[in-house]
Symmetry: C2
Subunit: 422 residues, 2 copies
Amino acid sequence: MYASQFVFKTKKEDPADEFSRGAKLLVRAGFVEKNFSGVYTYLPLGFRVLQNIAALLRKEMDQIGGQEMLMPALTPKAIWETSERWKILSDIMYTLKDRQDRTISLAPTHEDVISALLSRHLTSNDALPFYLYQIQDKFRDEPRAKSGLMRTREFFMKDLYSFHESAEDLARFYEIVKECYMHIFAACALNAYVTKASGGTFSNEHSHEFMVESSAGEDRVFVCDQCHFAENIEVRVEASTHECPECSRADLREIKAVEVGNIFKLGTKFSEAFGLYHHAQNGDNSPVVMGSYGIGLGRVMGTIADVNSDEYGLIWPMALAPFQVYLISLFKAGDNSSEGAVLAHTLYKDLQKAGLEVLCDDRDKSPGEKFGDADLLGIPYRVVISEKTLATQSVEVKDRAQGNITLIPAHDLVRFLISKRI
Amino acid sequence: MYASQFVFKTKKEDPADEFSRGAKLLVRAGFVEKNFSGVYTYLPLGFRVLQNIAALLRKEMDQIGGQEMLMPALTPKAIWETSERWKILSDIMYTLKDRQDRTISLAPTHEDVISALLSRHLTSNDALPFYLYQIQDKFRDEPRAKSGLMRTREFFMKDLYSFHESAEDLARFYEIVKECYMHIFAACALNAYVTKASGGTFSNEHSHEFMVESSAGEDRVFVCDQCHFAENIEVRVEASTHECPECSRADLREIKAVEVGNIFKLGTKFSEAFGLYHHAQNGDNSPVVMGSYGIGLGRVMGTIADVNSDEYGLIWPMALAPFQVYLISLFKAGDNSSEGAVLAHTLYKDLQKAGLEVLCDDRDKSPGEKFGDADLLGIPYRVVISEKTLATQSVEVKDRAQGNITLIPAHDLVRFLISKRI
């Protein structure tokens, strides 16, 4: 793509109504736009990142046997009454009356909806376990929505639901998801700590949260840098000591953290409410044992923007970047026959042929402005072609994350950048 | 994928609450599930088709220069008041009050939202034209929602918006989209007629609708099979004659049709309301000229199911099918060492390696039941391995659309099926 095609431009000034570094950068770089408090539009650059996060989640969910589906947001009141969650969730649930005066809610989560759905399909002889997931638009009337993409009122969530014949099988799969989540966050360049859940709708011993250190975080967590132990301050019993209960070192420090994912052993709460039973080994019908596992896509994007960034802008990992290469030719625009222009065009085509997504900055702007936008957008590799590099048939490559600049022979660029992909 | 992993089974009986053939088949085949009137879940098979339709739309939109983004469903009342559409759309707009007692609506369309968004970004010096689109969940409180996926209250729409400096440039792009839409519907195996719009929110001379003949359709259209002229019965002036105004033949016949897409020349209505101006050639600031172009993904799926099906089930085109190949081995399940089982496994792997999506029916069911499900699901090619085919080192291939069955040498199967892809 060519930068001259951009509809939404980068901004020099921080937005007045964003408070976290990540949110300020995402708005300045033209990735997102606030429609109103807690409600955002993904502009073309931000949408590319959102799609890349979705692709990563799909790959990982499919690998652990998940099957993708898509449930609606509109849900009748009766579903939430069956699970006795109408009142529990009323604080965050948007509700409305339709033209037939029925009370409808916008689903803030889908345990109840998927259980009601399966109650119309599952028979006691059906084979367990199975795993269903979706990437879907959710709605929560959050009392606080002031942390950019961290806490929004409309948001895309990857929610996975698992169905088992025993608590033991749920425990087995729960550990698989836990590991899968750590893998996902690592691919997002996020260093996540796992803590026991501190509360919330499903508060119990059998839930875990994935926490990433961030000054924009709303949670407080004790972490041990030695053994990676972590504990939410709200559940910490011996808060008076800084000794790690895992490795016994006095290394615990308290961090502000963002919850980027959570996993729940739901047990039989929903299967009993909605009548999901299977034939148990002893011949009786037993309630299906369920688990639920969530990751908010926007929150992941907001957290990366907050944690993986510097004073110059965003820094995306290769797998999620809107483009992997930012190509700048310092030759005059319009002079398409010069050696430099021809090389730029050739590299643009060759990199794309090799499967890399390239943003070519063909705008009539100063080198400084182009360099600034390359840093602000956080594209992993900036490639510059100039008189100086052309003299040695090379190009200048800057690694956005490391900051180092190297000269690479032009004919070797594709191979070099391909090797940087995971 | 293996059919034994299916969570949602096919059904022998038609659902009592669906009326069109397509909706009955989609429910029986386990593609969709009605949550309540006009609100559906896409089950794993249906979700695969939905994703394939989305991929086709993205490819076509990108080819005409569209840039994808994603706007929210939650919208403040003020936006709709600025365009004076709050009252006009009140019949179909879901509205609710949030915890701060603000009136919010669930966007039934996004002309107003994208205009408000651009009013905060566009300057009068920005380069026109540009084209922005999204594939997004929309909400309309439809008075009638009884035609399966044809008219739902929550639905995914591809909506494209174009921005031009003149009516002439809009006219140029409008024709490009018209052609692009015909290309899209052809790839969906739908024979679409273009008619002038008969009414609706943007009713004017400058709108067209794409109509597909279907007994489940709610529109009535005169069509000429000779020259492909079409006219909505509501706008037809000389309804008394059956002479085609294009080719003068007396060939007009009246069909029931489904509107699968629509395109609108919006002119300057929204740009004037939201203050979108550009520098005109005469030096003045002129309002931007806009167009809007929609295709409902669920409606396309429902229409294909209705039009492209027979008494045995659905018939998907290669590009949209949830799987391209339905592989059946008539050897006993569990006997993995037999020559037939080994061949089935090899073909399953080879076809996938070649980029084909294969559904292998490994269930402990009769051949008749497997053949029935292959037809019901509408997978384009059914491949059967049996004692008989093995004797000649071949496999039996059935073309779902044509109905013909041929023997193909086993070693030639991949090449044969690859050649059937568009």
